[in-house]
Each structure stands twice: as C-alpha cells, then as structure tokens.
Symmetry: C2
Subunit: 218 residues, 2 copies
C-alpha cells in the first residue's frame, strides 16, 4: 500500500522501529497482536500506533488486532526494503568500514555497489566483494553505474567538495555522518543526518537523572 | 534547573537536538529567538517546543522569546554535558575506533577513561592518550576506576558475557551498538540503543517516496 500524501518526519522516523519490532515478533512465531500489546512492547501509546499506521491506510481489524506477518510485509514494502536501490559509501576509514561490516544494506533496501576512499593505503582493499576505489573515480563511476544513494563517511569539507558532482550525477539520497548540510546547498535531495553525539547526550541525561523512570531509549 | 518529575522518552530524545540547534545559533551570534522562529528552523511545531521546555520549567518570556545563551546553558546542564561522567569503550574494532576518533566525549558529558579489546593485535595501541587494554582486565579496572558508563562496540554474545560483571561493578549506563538487551536482563540500568539500520531504512523510505515533501531527517 503506497501513501498518497505527505507523511510527517516523526512518523517516517518511527516506521523502521515498527518494522523491527514486528520482525522480532515474527521470529518468535507471534501471528497477531493488538495495538495495546504492541504499544506496551514498544513504549508508545496504542493511539499513536493506530494514528501512525492510518497514514498508510490502517491494517488493523477491530477485535482482531494486527496480522504480524502481513503488517511486517506491508511496512517493509512502504519502507522499500526490497528495492535494492544502488548505493555507494564515501570513506573507508573506521566509520565506513564499521558500516560495511555491520550493516546489511540489502535488508535495508540498498545494494552496495561501490566504496570510495582517498587514502592510497586503503584503495585496492577488498570488503564484502567490493574493491575500494580512488575517490577521483567517483564521477565516472556514477555516470556508468548510476548509484542513487551515498553514505557519507568523510569529513565535512571533503563532502562539500564532492556534493555538486554527486548531485549532478544522479545521487538523490544521503545517509550523512558528516556535518555538511546537503539540504541547504542542494534542493530536492533526501537526507538522513545521523547525529551520534545526540544519542550519547541522551544517555548523559539518563545517568544524570538516575531517579527518573526512563530506562531505555530504543 | 532540574526536573523533578518523569520526563517522557520522546522529550529526552529531542533535548540534544534543541541543544545542538541552540549551539549553532550561538555560533552565529543570535542572542534571542521566538518559539515560532525556532520551530521553523527545527521543523517542529512551536507548541511542541513550548511543551517540551515546560517539562523543565519553561525558560521563555512572553513577547521576548528565548534567550539563546541562557537556554543553551540550561539545557546543557539538564543534559549533564559538564558532568565528565567516567566512561569506557568496549571494543576497539572499526566501530569503537570510529567513535573514539569522531565523538568528543567531554562535550557530551563523559570522560573516556578506558578502552578494552580482546584482539591481541589491538591491545597496547594508543588512542587519544589511552592505551587499549585487554578486556580480561575489565573487572579489576572497574573496581579501581569506577567508570559509570560503557559504550558497547562488541558483538551481542560478548556483551552478554560481560554484562553481569559490568553491572556488578558499577556500570549504570550503556551506549549500546550491539543488539544485546541490557534492560531485559538488568533492571535499573539506563540504556540508549543505537539502531543504525533504522536510520538507513528511513532513507530507503525517503528515496522510495521521492515525490513526498520530506527532505531531511535531522
């Protein structure tokens, strides 16, 4: 089921979490779940779950709840997890390598087709079947293989220097670990900025306020 | 100003983001801002901002807005960013090294006091003034130096094997990149789970629905 309206960022942000919890339920052979049970599991209100899923047409049945397998599949389709959108990684330093080794791109909707790095000591190395290429080849690669998404694991100034080239050559989405503001400079691209510092600060709040009830941010 | 009630996870999650935007404004020498202007900048409603900040007693003045420097400082204090809570990193593989090199722990409320790894090739290496230690020394280290927080950059089964030891020796907070469920096994600890896959799936949604208005998740 496809959305035919603008879904808010907050809902979009929560979708992968629903998908993840439903996947866990599936693995435990749970076949159906009420919005109340799901809400207790996920620590959100049942009304929020209903509201969120209603953005895409509902899926629940009064008195039955949600069919776990069906909802998982539908959310996966909405998230595009089967699309195998061609993606590249810029930067094969520690962060880039951590992503290459720990993230299953195909399960998130992407096929990793290229890894780029400027450090000559890393160029030529092999990771998950891909040879790290000189970042100088990026433009030609884009024109030949048409990747649509780039994971940005290089510093801000290097990202800034390459942004025009990427956008001009068909990159429309950025998984951005740098602090370069792609949106500000390039209208129309889609960007998910990852702020690891924010999540560490959240933990700082929680250990500063040990007496409060919150035990987990998930 | 300290909170004297339970603040919801959603509000806690948004606090570092407010802090970050206010820091950017400060760097641009902006001295005051209305909740409406702040809301346009951050893509949340002005009423949400007022509601969130009211959890901690407000800070805004009718007709004046927010004093940027004051609010930044107060939110920093609420987040505990000056606490220098002693923290350790478990795992100096790619992810651990990426965090060590890219996250300024002291600006997030923590002082990094130890790095632990089981790989003999990495033990003894130096990062930011710390020598990577054998993870076998973890218990003794905790008893001597009393770290309170651990960044978990080791696989789930290794995290599971060490969790009891850490909790028994005073670790109360986990910045958790593994999929081990600390809360399920250890009541009372504070956990921030980082799900990088979720954010990549969010990008998958956005490039799957290019026609929708959302351009940035921040």
């Amino acid at each position: 089921m496809k959305s035919d309206k603008n879904v808010s960022n907050s809902v979009i942000n929560r979708l992968p979490r629903y998908y993840r919890f439903l996947g866990t339920l599936l693995n435990k052979d749970v076949t159906r779940i009420s919005s109340k049970e799901l809400s207790q599991l996920m620590h959100v209100t049942a009304s929020q779950i209903r509201q969120d899923l209603n953005c895409f047409g509902g899926f629940g049945q009064q008195g039955y709840g949600y069919n776990v397998e069906l909802l998982h599949r539908e959310l996966g389709s909405i998230l595009g997890v089967n699309n195998m959108t061609p993606a590249i990684i810029l930067g094969a330093g520690n962060l880039g390598k951590a992503l290459i080794n720990s993230i299953e791109f195909p399960r998130c909707g992407f096929q990793l087709v290229g890894i780029f790095e400027k450090n000559p000591a890393v160029i030529g190395q092999n990771y998950i079947g891909l040879t790290v290429q000189d970042i100088a080849n990026l433009e030609k690669f884009c024109q030949t293989y048409h990747p649509k998404v780039a994971a940005i694991c290089i510093p801000k100034d290097e990202a800034a220097a390459l942004a025009d080239t990427m956008v001009a050559n068909g990159i429309v989405g950025f998984w951005n670990f740098s602090s370069y503001d792609f949106n500000f400079h390039h209208e129309g691209v889609k960007v998910v900025n990852v702020h690891l510092r924010d999540s560490l600060m959240t933990l700082s709040y929680m250990v500063t306020h040990m007496d409060e009830g919150n035990s987990k941010i998930d």
